[in-house]
Amino acid sequence: MAVASGSEVPAQSPPEGPASTGRALGGGALKLIRSFLTLREGSIIVVAIVTTAYFSTNATNFATLSNFKTLLPYFAPLAILGAGEVFVMINGEIDLSIGAVYLLSPFVFYKLNQAGIPLVPAVILSLIVSSLVGVINGFFVAVIGISSFVTTLGMLFTLDGLTLIISHTAPVATPGTSALHVNSFAQVFGGGTYSELIWALVIVVGLQLVLTATRWGVYTVAVGGNRLGSAEAGIRVRLVLIRNFVLCATCAGLVGILEAVRAVTATPDPSGSNDILFQGIASAVIGGTLLRGGSGTVVGALIGALFLGVLHDGLIIKGVSANYLDLYLGLAILIAMSVNVYVQRVRTGSGLG
C-alpha cells in the first residue's frame, strides 16, 4: 500500500562515508537502489538474495533446477497461506486457525468424494466449508468482540479435534490421485511439478492487486490503521473483517487440498499443521507485514516464504543434522529480521520511502 511513486526525492548528501563512493556508483545506479529500497519488500528481497547467493556459492548442487523443484513444495504452500494471513494481519488481527483449516479441508474433500460428489465440485465444496470457518472466525471477532487471537486459537483446537474425529486418526488416500500416475485432476490441484508454484503466483499477484488497487484493499488498510475513523467515514468495519477472515481461511483450505493431492495421502497430524501455521505467519511477518496492523504486502509474504524455503533447503544441502535444523532456522530468522529492520530504518531515516 501507499508505496511512494518514483517521483524525485530531494537530493541529500549521503549520511556518512566518503562522498566518492556515491559518485563512483553513478547517479543512475544510486537512484535505482534508492527507489528499490523505497519498496516495503525491498529489505527482505535483499536478505533473500544474499541468502540465496550464500548457498549458491557454498553449497554444491544448490543452484540447480532439480533443487529448485525440491524447494517448490516447501515455499509455494507457505506463500499462499501467508498471502491470506497478510489481509487479516493488516486488519490488525491474526488467524491462528489456518493450520487447522489446512488439516481439515482434505478430509472434507475426501468425505464429500466418498459420498459420491465428483472431484472438482468436491474441491469447491471443501473450499466453501473452509470459507465458513472464516465466517465464524470473523463473526466472533467482529460481532461478538472476542480477540482474534483467542477466537482462532479456539478454532484451531476445535478443527484439530474435528479432523481427528472424522478421520478416526487414520490417513486416507487423497481422492483422484494415485502414486503411480499423475492424472489431469492431480496435475492441476497440486500434483504437477509446477502446479503449486502457479497457484501461488496467481494468488499472490491477484491478492496484491486486490490490496493495492481496489476498495477492498483500501478498506483493509483503513480498518487496520484507524478502526474508529474508518467506521466514522462509513466503512462497514465488520464486513471488512469478516471478508478477510474468509479469504484467509479459504487460502488455507486450498493449500490443504493441494498438499494432500501432491502427497497422495492426507494425514491427520495436528503437530505438522501447527508447524505450517507458524511458518505461514512467519512468511507474512518476514515479508514486512506488521503485527500491529495497517501495513503489509502480499508479495512480501511470497518472498518471506521463499526465504524460509531457501534457508531450509540450503541448510539440508549443507548437511546440517536434523537436530540442528530448527535451531539454525530460528537464529537465521532472527538475524534476517534484524537486518530487515535495520535496512528499513536506514531507508526511512534518510527520508526515503
Partner: protein, 281 residues
C-alpha cells in the same frame, strides 16, 4: 428527562428548516450526554453550536450523521422523518461530517483519505482510479488554498493543521448540502483557519449549503455564524441570532452556570459539614 419546571418547547418550525431535531436524548451508561435537545437548521445558514467540554456537542453531531443512534426523540430532514441507518445512509441524503478526531487513516495517502468511502473506480473492472483522485484532491485543496506538496505520502507525515485541512476539504468538496463540522479549526494556524472560514463564507453566499459548526473560539463564531445555540446540561440553553447576542452575554451564561454549580457544591459541602458537626455533638 426534563423536570416539570423547565419544560422545553421545540423551536417553532419554519418552512425553510432543512433539519429539525426534537427531544433527542442519549446516555452512555450512567452518563447522560443529551437530556432533551431541540434544534433546527435553516437552509443556507451557518449555525454555531457552543458548549463546555463534555456537554454533548459531538454526540449530537454523531447522531445526526448516522454514526450513533439516539435513545429517544425524532429528527426531520426537509420536513420528512429522518432515521439514518448508517453514515452512508445519512451521506446519501446529503449530510456529511468532519469529526473531531478527523477520521483519517495515517497509513493511507492524502488522496486515498480524501476519497475514503467515496473512492473513484474505473469501469467495468472496479480498480481504483488513483490519477483521477489525485487530480481532484489537488483541485479541492487548491480551492481552499491549502498547500500540501505531495499527495502520495501517508497522512501520518503531515502536520496537525494539514491533516485537519484534508478532513475539512474532504467533507466540503463532496456533494453534501448539510455540513456538520466538529471544531474544524482546532489545529489550524491563523492563515489556514481564515481560509476555511472564507470557504464557509463562500458556501453561505451560494445559499445551497447549510452548516452546523462546533466552535470554541467566540471570534470565529461572530465572524462566521448566523445563529448560535448553546448546549448546556444536555439541553439547548440559548438560541439566538449572532447579531442579537455578544461575547459578554455568551460568557455570562457560561460563567453563570459555573457559578451556580460552584455555589451548589459549596452549599452541599456546608450542609454535609453541618450534618457532621451536629451528629458529633
Amino acid at each position: 428527562m426534563a423536570e416539570s419546571g423547565e419544560k422545553i418547547v421545540p423551536p417553532t418550525s419554519a418552512p425553510d428548516d432543512v433539519l429539525r431535531v426534537e427531544h433527542i436524548t442519549k446516555s452512555f451508561g450512567p452518563t447522560t450526554a443529551l437530556r432533551d435537545v431541540n434544534l433546527h437548521l435553516r437552509k443556507g445558514e451557518v449555525l454555531g453550536l457552543l458548549g463546555d467540554n463534555g456537554s454533548g456537542k459531538s454526540t449530537l453531531m454523531k447522531i445526526i450523521c448516522g454514526f450513533q443512534k439516539q435513545d429517544s426523540g425524532q429528527m426531520f430532514l426537509h420536513g420528512e422523518p429522518f432515521e439514518p441507518k448508517s453514515v452512508d445512509d445519512a451521506r446519501a441524503q446529503g449530510i456529511d461530517t468532519v469529526y473531531q478526531d478527523l477520521a483519517l487513516v495515517d497509513e493511507l495517502s492524502v488522496y486515498h483519505n480524501m476519497f475514503l468511502r467515496r473512492e473513484r473506480v474505473r469501469v467495468p473492472i472496479p480498480l481504483l482510479n488513483n490519477a483521477l483522485m489525485r487530480r481532484e484532491t489537488r483541485k479541492a485543496l487548491d480551492d481552499i488554498g491549502i498547500n500540501i506538496p505531495r499527495l502520495d505520502v501517508p497522512v501520518a507525515r503531515l502536520s496537525g493543521g494539514q491533516r485537519q485541512a484534508i478532513a475539512v476539504a474532504r467533507t466540503v468538496s463532496g456533494e453534501a448540502n448539510i455540513l456538520l463540522l466538529d471544531e474544524p479549526l482546532a489545529a489550524m494556524g491563523a492563515k489556514e483557519g481564515g481560509m476555511i472560514l472564507e470557504l464557509i463564507q463562500r458556501l453561505k453566499e451560494k445559499g445551497e449549503v447549510s452548516v452546523m459548526m462546533i466552535l470554541h473560539n467566540y471570534a470565529h463564531v461572530f465572524a462566521t455564524c448566523d445563529r448560535v445555540n448553546l448546549l448546556q446540561d444536555g439541553v439547548i440553553a440559548l438560541d439566538k441570532p449572532t447579531s442579537e447576542t455578544s461575547v459578554e452575554e455568551l460568557n455570562e451564561i457560561v460563567v453563570e452556570e459555573y457559578r451556580r454549580a460552584r455555589q451548589a457544591a459549596i452549599a452541599e459541602d456546608a450542609a454535609a459539614r453541618a450534618a457532621a458537626s451536629s451528629s458529633s455533638q
